[in-house]
C-alpha cells in the first residue's frame, strides 16, 4: 500500500504495510540508515527519531501514524555537523563504537528543544531510555551541558 511521508523535509512515497515500523521504512525503503536497530521493543533507544519534534522509538511506531507529520532523523539534524548537540558531541569525543549515538543525539536534541538548561537529573531521566554498551554516559552528560552553552552563545 502506498503511503506518503515527509522525512527531513523531503516527501517520499513508500509501498509497505501500514503497520510496518517507521524504522524499517527509513532504513530499507528510503535508505536512511543513520537510524539504527537495536532491540525492536522500545528498550534501547538506538532507533530514536523525532515525530513533529518529539522523540519516539521508531522500532515500535507504525508508519501509518506518521502520515501528515514531520519525521526528523539524525541525517536531518544539520547537513554540516553544526547542530549544537553534534558540536558538543565532537568536542567531548563522545561516541565510541557510535552505534547508539544517533539515538542519543536525537534524544538530547529533543530534550534541549524543550528544556533550556536541564539539570543532571533532568538529563538522566530524558536519556535513561538510551542504552550505550560502550559506556559513554559520562561524556554524554558533559556534552549535553556543553550543548547548552553552544546554544546560548549562538543566541546571544
Amino acid at each position: 500500500m502506498a503511503i506518503s511521508l515527509r522525512v527531513n523535509g523531503t516527501a517520499y512515497e513508500v509501498d509497505v504495510e501500514p503497520e510496518t515500523p517507521i524504522l524499517w521504512v527509513l532504513r530499507d525503503s528510503i535508505g536512511l540508515t543513520g537510524t539504527k536497530f537495536g532491540c525492536g521493543i522500545a528498550q534501547c533507544g538506538v532507533c530514536t527519531i523525532h515525530l513533529d519534534g518529539r522523540p519516539i522509538r521508531s522500532c515500535i511506531t507504525p508508519v501509518s501514524s506518521a502520515v501528515g507529520r514531520q519525521i526528523t532523523t539524525i541525517e536531518g539534524l544539520s547537513n554540516d555537523n553544526s547542530h549544537p548537540v553534534q558540536q558538543a558531541w565532537i568536542e567531548h569525543s563522545t561516541p565510541q563504537c557510535g552505534y547508539c549515538q544517533s539515538g542519543q543525539i536525537m534524544s538530547a536534541a529533543a530534550l534541549l528543544s524543550q528544556t533550556d538548561n536541564p539539570s543532571d537529573s533532568e538529563i538522566d531521566s530524558a536519556m535513561s531510555g538510551n542504552l550505550c554498551r560502550c559506556g559513554t554516559y559520562p561524556r554524554i552528560r558533559a556534552a549535553i551541558h556543553r550543548a547548552v552553552e553552544i546554544y546560548d552563545a549562538s543566541k546571544s
Binding site: 540508515t33 539524525i74 535513561s128
Partner: protein
C-alpha cells in the same frame, strides 16, 4: 632543480597510472548503490602512490594510512595512523585513514602481519611493526632524495612532510614513487618514547565526526542493488534440531521469497559454527521477520534440555569436593596447612553467564556470483570473513572481497568473524544468487551469542604472622563449550591463580566443565569475573586481621614495582578511608589484565532500605606507556561501565537448556542515571613493557564497589548481579 622537476613529473604520471589501475581498496562492487564504507575521509585517494602496503602519499601531501585492524570505538583507526605518522614525520592534519584490503593481504604475502583486533593489543603488541612501516617509508624517502640531490642519505632530513638537504627542499610527494623502489641496506630502528613528537598527544579519534550524523557505515547498513533480506531462527537449545515447520502458512504473505534451512555441520559443532535452524527470505527484513514470527516451528531440543543455572550450581558444589587441575602452585601443601585450622577463613563466590549484547545486532551481507563474492560482516578480524567463506563455499580466496565497516561494538564476541551469520548469508546468497542481508533479532543475538562463561569459586586462607596469609587455596569451576581453548581453562581462575600477593604457600585448582552452550572471550576475559572474586576475598583477609585494605595490598606486593606504582598513586589521589559513617563506604581493588595494572576506588552510599548509589569512581592504570590519554580515558570509562553493568544488573537466566532473558527488558544493562563519572589517573612505569588499554578498566571496578558496599552496610556480596541482593541495613 632540473632533476627534481623531472622526477616530479615522472612521479605524477606513474601515480596517476597507479590510481587508474584500481587502488586495491575493494570498495568497487559493481552495481552497489550504497555499499561503500563511510564518506570522506575514508575514500580511496585519487592520485596517491604507495611506498609500502601501509600508506600512500597524494600529490598534495595527503597521507592515507591503511589500517588492517577494525574500529569498534577503541581507536585503531586513529592509533595506527598515529604510530605511522610519528615515524613518517608528517603533519597530523594531512593524515587520513582507510581500512586495508584483505584480499590483497591474504593473497599477496600478508604484508600487514596481524589483522585481528582483540585482547587490547593493537598498540601493546603491534606497535613495533606498525611504527617500523612508517620509519621504513621515511628512510626510503630520504634515500630517494639523496640519490637525486647527490648527497649521502644521512644528510637528508625528513620533517613534517618536507625533505631537505642544504639548499635542496622537496615535498615527500615528489619522491614517493622513487622511494617505493628503494632497497634499504638496513631497516631503521623505531623511535624510543623520548623521541616521540606525536605519540603521547591526546588526539581525538578521526572517525568521530562521522559518528554524530549517521554517516558512519556499519555492516548492518549495507545496501546493494537487488538485495534481499533474511530473518533467522535457530534451535534455542544450541545443537538441537528443527523437527518441523509450516512454510505454507506464511509463504503467500507480501514480499516472501524463500525459506532456507541451516544445518549444524557434523564433526564441526565447534563453538562458533552453524546451528540448526531456518531463514525466511523476503524483499524487506521486516516482512521476513514478521513471517518467521508467524510460522509454526517445532524443535527437537535434544539431550541438553535439562541444563539450568540450578544444575550448574549443583555441579559446582559437587566439584568443590573434588581435586581439580592445578593452575599454579607456590610453596607447599597450602590446603593441608589451611585444614590444620587456626586463624582460617573461606568463602564461595559466583559470577553467572553474561552476553556480549553489542548494540549492533549480529548481521552479515554477502553477494555470491560466479566471478566474485563480496562480504560485509561485523568482525574483529578483517581477514576472517574471507577465510570463513572460502572454507564454507569452497571458493578461492582471490575471488572474495571483504568490505570492512565500522563495528557497533564487538567486545570479544566477534572475534571469529561473526562466523555463523556470515556462513548463513553465504549459504543463502549462494543458493539464490542474489545479495542477501541477514540480521539477527536481539533475541536471536543473545540466544546464540557465544557467552561469557560462568564461574563458581571456593577460596580458603589461613592467616599467620601479623595476620597476613601464610597459605591460600582456590578451586574454580568453570563452564565452557567443549573443544574451546582460548577462553577455557586458561581464564577459569585468571587473576586468582595469577594474583601478585606474596603468600608463601599457594595452590590454585580448576575444573573446566564442558557444556553444550557456546562460549567465547568477552571484554576482559577471566579478569572481569575473577577480579570481583579475588579482590573481595583480599578485603576479607585484610579485615579479618584488622589491616587497612590499602596498606595490606602495599605490604603484600612489596618489591613489585608496577603494582606499587598503582597503589601509591591510589593512596595519593583517592582519599581512601574506612571510617565513613554507616550507609557510606569506600572500596578499592587492583587487578592485572592484558599486562596493565589497574586499580579502582569507589565511593558509595546505600540507603537504609538498600538503595545503592555510586557517588565517585577513580581509576588508576599503569600500562607501561601511553600514546593517547584522551582515547585511554574513554576506554577506561567504557570498560568500567561494561563490568559494572554485569556486576550490578546482568546475569543470563538458563532454564531448560536455553537462555530466557534475551532482550533488554529482561537482560539489564547500566543506564545513564546509574553511571558515575570516572576520574582516570595514569601511573606509568615507562620501563620497557607495554600494557593494554581497552579492557583493564573493568576488572577492579565492581570489586571496589562491592568492597565499598561492605563498609557501608556490613554486607559482603559474593555473587552478581548485586541488585538481587538485599543491601538494607539498620
Amino acid at each position: 632543480m632540473n632533476m627534481q622537476t623531472k622526477i616530479s613529473r615522472r612521479t605524477m604520471i606513474r601515480t596517476m597510472a597507479g590510481a587508474g589501475g584500481g587502488m586495491i581498496l575493494g570498495f568497487h562492487l559493481p552495481g552497489a548503490s550504497a555499499g561503500v564504507v563511510a564518506p570522506e575521509p575514508w575514500t580511496t585517494p585519487t592520485d596517491g602512490a604507495e611506498i609500502n602496503a601501509w600508506l600512500t602519499i597524494d600529490l598534495d601531501g595527503t597521507v592515507t594510512i591503511r589500517v588492517p585492524h577494525t574500529e569498534q570505538g577503541q581507536g585503531a583507526l586513529t592509533s595506527v595512523p598515529t604510530m605511522i605518522a610519528e615515524e613518517l614525520d608528517v603533519p597530523w592534519e594531512n593524515v587520513r585513514a582507510v581500512f586495508a584490503d584483505m584480499n590483497r593481504h591474504l593473497n599477496q604475502g600478508q604484508e600487514y602481519k596481524v589483522t585481528t583486533t582483540h585482547g587490547s593489543q593493537v598498540v601493546r603488541l603491534q606497535h613495533p611493526h606498525i611504527m617500523q612501516a612508517g620509519a621504513s617509508a621515511r628512510e626510503r624517502l630520504k634515500a630517494a632524495a639523496a640519490i637525486v640531490w647527490n648527497v649521502d642519505p644521512s644528510q637528508v632530513t625528513a620533517k613534517q612532510g618536507v625533505l631537505s638537504s642544504g639548499s635542496n627542499q622537496a615535498s615527500y610527494a615528489d619522491f614517493v614513487t622513487a622511494a617505493a623502489e628503494v632497497q634499504l641496506a638496513q631497516e631503521p630502528t623505531i623511535k624510543t618514547p623520548d623521541q616521540w613528537w606525536l605519540m603521547g598527544k591526546p588526539l581525538p579519534r578521526m572517525e568521530i565526526p562521522h559518528k554524530v550524523n549517521g554517516s558512519a557505515q556499519y555492516s548492518i547498513d549495507t545496501r546493494l542493488d537487488g538485495m534481499v533480506y533474511a530473518a533467522v531462527k535457530c534451535c534455542p537449545v544450541p545443537w538441537g534440531k528443527v523437527k518441523s515447520y509450516d512454510f505454507d502458512a506464511v509463504r503467500n504473505r507480501p514480499g516472501i521469497i524463500d525459506l532456507v534451512e541451516f544445518h549444524a555441520l557434523e564433526g564441526k559443532t565447534f563453538t562458533s559454527d552453524m546451528q540448526n535452524g531456518v531463514a525466511i527470505v523476503a524483499d524487506s527484513w521486516y516482512r521476513a521477520k514478521t513471517a518467521l514470527d508467524l510460522m509454526p516451528i517445532e524443535w527437537d531440543y535434544g539431550p541438553n534440555a535439562n541444563v539450568s543455572n540450578e544444575t550448574q550450581a549443583a555441579e559446582a558444589q559437587r566439584l568443590f569436593g573434588v581435586e581439580g587441575d592445578v593452575s599454579n602452585e607456590i610453596g607447599s601443601d597450602a590446603l593441608g596447612r589451611i585444614n590444620q585450622g587456626g586463624n582460617t577463613l573461606s568463602a564461595q563466590y559466583h559470577r553467572p553467564y553474561e552476553t556480549h549484547a553489542r548494540m549492533e545486532p549480529i548481521n552479515a551481507t554477502v553477494s555470491v556470483t560466479d566471478e566474485r563474492i563480496d562480504v560485509w560482516s561485523p568482525t574483529q578480524d578483517q581477514a576472517a570473513p574471507l577465510r570463513i567463506i572460502s572454507d564454507h563455499l569452497g571458493r578461492d580466496t582471490k575471488e572474495i572481497f571483504v568490505h570492512t565497516a565500522f563495528l557497533g561494538g564487538a567486545f570479544g564476541g566477534n572475534g571469529g568473524g561473526a562466523t555463523a551469520v556470515t556462513k548463513q548469508a553465504a549459504e543463502i546468497s549462494n543458493r539464490l544468487r542474489r545479495p542477501v542481508k541477514v540480521i539477527w533479532t536481539r533475541e536471536e543475538d543473545i540466544t546464540h551469542d557465544k557467552q561469557r562463561p560462568p564461574v563458581y569459586t571456593e577460596l580458603k586462607a589461613s592467616l599467620g604472622e601479623r595476620g597476613l596469609p601464610e597459605a591460600f587455596f582456590s578451586r574454580a569451576v568453570w563452564f565452557t563449550h567443549e573443544g574451546v581453548a582460548n577462553h577455557g581453562p586458561a581464564t577459569a581462575d585468571y587473576s586468582i591463580g595469577t594474583m601478585p600477593y606474596l603468600v608463601p604457600n599457594r595452590r590454585h585448582e580448576r575444573h573446566n566443565v564442558a557444556t553444550h552452550l557456546p562460549t567465547a572471550t568477552h571484554r576482559g576475559p577471566g579478569a572481569n569475573q575473577n577480579g570481583f572474586i579475588i579482590e573481595q576475598f583480599v578485603d576479607e583477609m585484610a579485615l579479618a586481621a584488622d589491616w587497612d585494605p590499602l596498606e595490606w595490598r602495599l605490604e603484600m606486593t612489596k618489591g613489585l614495582e608496577p603494582w606499587q606504582r598503582v597503589l601509591l598513586k591510589m593512596k595519593e589521589v583517592c582519599g581512601f578511608r574506612t571510617d565513613l559513617p554507616k550507609g557510606q563506604g569506600m572500596g578499592i581493588a587492583v587487578v592485572e589484565d592484558h599486562n596493565s595494572y589497574c586499580g579502582a576506588c569507589a565511593t558509595v552510599s546505600v540507603s537504609q532500605r538498600g538503595q545503592l548509589t555510586i557517588d565517585k569512581l577513580d581509576i588508576i592504570i599503569n600500562s607501561g606507556y601511553l600514546i593517547n590519554e584522551l582515547n585511554a580515558s574513554e576506554q577506561l570509562e567504557g570498560a568500567a561501565c561494561w563490568e559494572l553493568s554485569h556486576a550490578l544488573y546482568g546475569g543470563l537466566d538458563l532454564e531448560n537448556g536455553q537462555f530466557t532473558n534475551t532482550n533488554f527488558d529482561s537482560y539489564h544493562l547500566m543506564r545513564m542515571p546509574q553511571m558515575p563519572s570516572a576520574n582516570c589517573y595514569f601511573a606509568l612505569s615507562e620501563d620497557g613493557w607495554w600494557g593494554g588499554m581497552g579492557e583493564p578498566g573493568g576488572p577492579p571496578t565492581p570489586a571496589a564497589v562491592a568492597n565499598a558496599i561492605y563498609f557501608a552496610t556490613g554486607k559482603r556480596v559474593r555473587s552478581t548481579p548485586i541488585n538481587q541482593h538485599d543491601l538494607s541495613w539498620s
